[in-house]
Point group: C2
Amino acid sequence: MRAMTMPGTSDRFTSDGTDRDAVTRAVEEAMDDDLDLPELTTLVRSLPAGWVVEVLDRLSSKRRAVLYRLLGKDQALEVFEMLDPTLQGDLVGALQDDDVAALFADLDPDDRVELLDELPAKVARRLLQGLPPQERDLTAGILGYPQRSIGRRMSPEYVAVRPEMTSAEALRRVSAHLDDAETVYTMPVVDDQRVLVGIVSLRDLMRAPVGTPVGEVMQRPDEVRATDDAEEAARRCADLKLLALPVVDNEHRLVGILTVDDALAILESADSEDQARIGGAEPLRRPYLAAPVSTLVRSRVVWLLVLAVGATLTVQVLEVFEATLEQVVTLALFVPLLIGTGGNTGNQAATTVTRALALGDVVPRDLGKVLFREFRVGLSLGVLLGVLAFAVTGLIYGRDIGLVIGLTFVSLCAMAATVGGVMPLLARVVRADPAVFSNPFISTFVDAAGLLIYFGIAKAVLGI
Amino acid sequence: MRAMTMPGTSDRFTSDGTDRDAVTRAVEEAMDDDLDLPELTTLVRSLPAGWVVEVLDRLSSKRRAVLYRLLGKDQALEVFEMLDPTLQGDLVGALQDDDVAALFADLDPDDRVELLDELPAKVARRLLQGLPPQERDLTAGILGYPQRSIGRRMSPEYVAVRPEMTSAEALRRVSAHLDDAETVYTMPVVDDQRVLVGIVSLRDLMRAPVGTPVGEVMQRPDEVRATDDAEEAARRCADLKLLALPVVDNEHRLVGILTVDDALAILESADSEDQARIGGAEPLRRPYLAAPVSTLVRSRVVWLLVLAVGATLTVQVLEVFEATLEQVVTLALFVPLLIGTGGNTGNQAATTVTRALALGDVVPRDLGKVLFREFRVGLSLGVLLGVLAFAVTGLIYGRDIGLVIGLTFVSLCAMAATVGGVMPLLARVVRADPAVFSNPFISTFVDAAGLLIYFGIAKAVLGI
């Protein structure tokens, strides 16, 4: 889609980090000052699309629309294609209907579906109806697959070849589709029922002697089902280091292709989601500076509230032990330290197992293995910290308090690591997002259970 | 490198998730039982390399070596190339010297360097000396770049073309390097000083009329410096949706190429690192089930200890207020709730900003913007939670305690979000890993400062 040709090297636009920074900064400053539109227009039109996207990602939605309207026609399309779907959705509201219809028709079918998901139903319907019939069919095909499935993110614009074709015939087929296919570097091979029987790279086609049948140079295909989870399919494409992965239906008939750049985009947003949830927030779905403060608040307030409500359990547990606290107020001093350590141990385990699940290194049937491993890890950590804590607190607060703290560390860490390690797997079993489910449950459970352990040990050791 | 051809479709090996699961499970069970080696050999030799890697990722290092030795020769190389460098390193210790030398010579130069980093210096030196001279030079070139730079991860095996070549000449050049180049789908265009002047895709070369000079169909190049940070370069490659990104030296001379599959691998391990550190642990660098329990303990104990030592600050703060606690023991009940909420608010902000930094959405010069945003976000969250907390605790524990808790929420959240948002940027400024630096600092500082705020407000409101 990049139609721009280069008039020779220009020193101004070497991709040297400093220069790029300086230029994007200049645009931002020009937007801050009273706008000199003609000058700003000249400046932004001279920039590569990637740089413009970087600037747009940092602006508020009002300013983003202003700057976007200054772009040249081809540049505008190229920039639009590189923007996050959420930002595309924002822009659609701010542009003329005609411009939107033209942009929409120029998008690839898979990108179009992503944008549709961001738009109000009414706008989406109007845009779909405005498409040429063939494009509308391609788009409708993708829209038929469930949310979060790879069918939604694949491209239906592939070049397929047949096993009985010669390499020369296959190359001619490829040459005929240089303009419209999503990729021409990896070709699915199908039989006359459209069943996937192999995969062949352009490199292998070019390398093969002219008369060789495709069947002799093709590879055994890796494939995913259109209804498979998009993240798992993308991870598969990445793990196998493929430039493109064929997508098939239940009868193994080819329906589309997942290219590595789309796989990358899927993985990047999945990783952003996981990180946000490990940190106890909802994913932002747009660049940080482009998100209004109210969006940031909304992405965090629910989790914060859930966690705070869960934490009231600790208030209740402490109330039960209020008499004990009044007797030995020293016990209160260690509450944040112990609670914190329990939470940290649980989070370490949960994060490790959540990541292992995402990477496919661990599957739900490994529950027993994970439980046993995490118990051993937690116990080891508890013993290491407990001995140290016993020595230090014993010296300062006496042997009894030292013993209480030391023993609490041992049991707390073993409990927290086991719970933290097992939660993400249980979440997966009940089909919840491991990162969502684990965090509040672990915080609430480990904190409350930790206090019970602490005061239980304290009462036993101190005899109160 | 995949030489395997396919003898036709085999129903046994459709990539249907269930079948794949069943087969890998069968291999695992065969390893668990008394081994019937010939049968196991037949089974694993019939599997695609990707499936074998999945099984190997789940075995202990001893069993991994046993299974690996059963593989066929070509299969073994293919599998070895797909393994994590750490697991490759483990295997090297368990295999015959001759086998290792052969594997090592067959690796791509960039993969070779990754493996070298995993090996003891003595073994690394011996392997390097065993290489053919040309391969040794290529490898030594990559080894000359700093750790974590993209120069270490790029491939020096590119096909470059000249702007004055015709498209037909360029295609002939490409055809001559089908066997040895890392990619033939994206070609850097260089002048006679080897200075990068453009980039051209195989698709555009094939599309151009026969006599067209390359200079007319090439694009303005995006490029990275060999000394640039590997993660940033990989993110750039992904953001621009490029199949390959040229790598240049300080004089803009071409030295290598970064392909998208290598970029993906870099990003995946960077994201794993970030997630581990957000969860308060060191990255594992090997699949979860393949890591011995002692490795898991080691990856967590240092952070747990650092965080626990930091948390002793809370013990000291509480000691200062021990007299206040003895007067109003009710205050102790809310300590875990308040500490927890402060920590959660700080973590939310830190995680969001850390991710924004990794994605390039925020740069260090945005410090002021981030500070102001996070203060507003924190204040809003604090007011929302504070009002609620005032209402609930006021009802149960009386107006005064309600006021203390409500006001503490407001100031605590504002403080925690600001600190949490700013820390990752400060970490980047002092060139520390934002994820590493933020976590312990925020926990320690926010917990201790939160307690000071809490008791300060309590003393003022309750007049003690």
